[in-house]
Symmetry: C2
Subunit: 364 residues, 2 copies
């Protein structure tokens, strides 16, 4: 008889396509509430009942819908991750870190790649607002403060990677850019370099601003003067680096030969730019590191594979991702008990200078 009923159900169901908790309840001759208790491992279910329910679940191959559940519990088990450029090898490492940490808590990832476009960043934030994710991690936000504030007005917990916004948020995980730039300049100074150029990245990036300022401070600390035209900016790509490299190296040698001999060392905003510089230098017959030393930032896998291998300020990418998730997760736990909002947290990780073959003694 019970078979009859469940059979009928199973015949009905294919019409709509989905097996629901009510189907399982009917098949197991219990109430939906009990099925809910079983799938959520509530201990207060008689063993016999539990088995009957589990059987029915198996028989109907029931998959509880997270939509219904989310609506009822106000939890989606989903994290939003907004990143600036997935094709820049820096970011996949962060995604990996976030993904792993999220998986630990059984959470899924809604990914938005903004392609360094703040409009798309805004759109992603808008979409995430509707999707009621449990939290959002923004990696390398390019949005101006005002717009950020407007979008962050939502009640979704927000964690930033590599940006400390003025707006309220759970917190920020970033890297001590000052320490990184100092280490790089110290290294170059120790090699005897007195003329160092800096190739910056996207001006909208807080990291870029901090790296440049730290570079200037570090040079000052070493009594190294910086020529105005030795600070340039570039797209944070290999092509951008080639372009900037040509301006920095080509201009000096051809247009104003003798006027401003070219710098003996270059610090780049990221490794991709540094790689571009390496390429144009080699094409121009400028020997690395004999004639020119180059230092990057990030330590993407590519950097170790190059010839010469790139000296760079390594960023702990995976950790950035993991710590961001941890921040979010502890906040979510906290929030459940008491609704209190703590002050924004700041987790600052240390970079590491990785010395490789692209830096050497200053020429002369």
């Amino acid at each position: 008889m019970a078979e009859e009923v469940s059979d009928t159900r199973e015949l009905w169901r294919p019409a709509t396509g989905t097996v629901t908790i009510d189907d399982v309840a009917a098949a197991a001759r219990v109430s939906p509430a009990t099925v809910s208790r079983v799938i959520n491992n509530r201990p207060i279910v008689a063993e016999g009942t539990r088995q009957r329910v589990l059987d029915a679940i198996e028989r109907l191959s029931f998959r509880p819908s997270s939509l219904g559940r989310s609506l009822a519990t106000r939890r989606t088990g989903t994290l939003g991750l907004v990143i600036a450029d997935i094709t820049n090898p820096f970011y996949p490492e962060i995604v990996r870190g976030v993904e792993q940490a999220a998986a630990t808590h059984g959470m899924s990832l809604l990914l938005y790649d903004t392609a360094e476009d703040s409009e798309r960043e805004a759109e992603a934030l808008r979409l995430l607002g509707e999707r009621k994710v449990d939290g959002v991690i923004i990696c390398a936000s390019r949005l101006p403060e005002e717009r950020l504030a407007a979008l962050a007005a939502s009640d979704t917990p927000l964690v930033f990677i590599n940006r400390q916004p003025a707006v309220w948020s759970i917190g920020t995980v970033d890297v001590d850019q000052e320490a990184g730039a100092h280490a790089a300049v110290d290294h170059l100074a120790a090699l005897g370099h007195r003329r160092i150029a800096y190739i910056g990245g996207p001006e909208a990036s807080q990291v870029q601003q901090r790296r440049r300022a730290a570079f200037q401070a570090a040079c000052a600390a070493h009594d190294i003067a910086i020529l105005d035209h030795d600070i340039v900016t570039a797209d944070p790509t290999i092509a951008g680096g080639q372009d900037a490299g040509r301006r920095l190296l080509g201009a000096a040698s051809s247009h104003r030969a003798g006027g401003h001999p070219r710098p003996t060392a270059i610090l780049a905003y990221n490794d991709l730019i540094a790689v571009g510089v390496l390429m144009v230098a080699q094409a121009d017959g400028i020997a690395i590191p004999a004639h020119l030393s180059v230092v990057g930032h990030d330590d993407i896998p590519l950097s170790a594979a190059l010839h010469p291998a790139l000296t760079t300020v390594r960023q702990p990418m995976r950790d950035l991702g993991k710590r961001a998730v941890r921040l979010l997760h502890t906040h979510l736990q906290h929030q459940q008990r008491d609704g209190a909002r703590d002050a924004p947290a700041l987790v600052r990780l240390a970079p590491t200078l990785i010395v490789r073959a692209s830096t050497g003694l200053a020429p002369h």
Copy 2:
């Protein structure tokens, strides 16, 4: 008076935290249905009413919850994307393609990075089953057919990238591996190479199987004999390539000097492996391409930046992603009109041999 009411509402709301469609309806003095019509741009709303509703939405800063909507419409506007390894530069390009195409249709991306682990792939598929995404794209599935069949039993439309499974699915987008391997071998043969080795990737990868088979067929077509120990496998990483390179190059010269002189050319499963080979060759003083020619697969950005730059069989990564979304999307449209299921589609894209500096005339 209306002000009074909405004010009261606004004071109430913060308690629960969310503004709902009912709040807006009350504030605008219309029914929830009308608010729904407005936010979905249904044309049958009087202009005056629409304005009142829009005002209320603005005033309460109402963000419709996609959870409620999804539950009611049975559409989530979300795509699942399962990829094998986000840190392999091959995949971010595909993610970018998928993301862009998905954004075109206003869809979001649930990303799962399996780290080349089929258990995590299974877990991702399980999670996606509960999340009722509108469709799933699996890029480089590593799951054995049986398990895939079990998991694919779900009613979620499935599109594969770079795998043609036996199980039913919407379809597959892949690359003509045979054409790629043939082009590579033709190129090497034309340069006079008669001893070519192949370094394979993950055996669970259908692409790997097809590339190796095509390599063998192409060699046969050129009357090139393949030595057994000239076919090896490696992790699809730079480290894996270094390892395989050492086995292939080191073993020949040291252990059995004179017995089997080393191959004069190597075709690698992917560019990362090829880069690893390049590195150990250079470390061992084997000149590229004078003593050894190397060809990779993919054309990741790194490949053009190397010295020597890598000759490789370029895969149209972005297009793979875009076409996969297109397949899914047209299916979803189709499905709405008639529930008919078409036969699985197969979109096969052409690779391109990119000749660079890592290949040259065979020695002698």
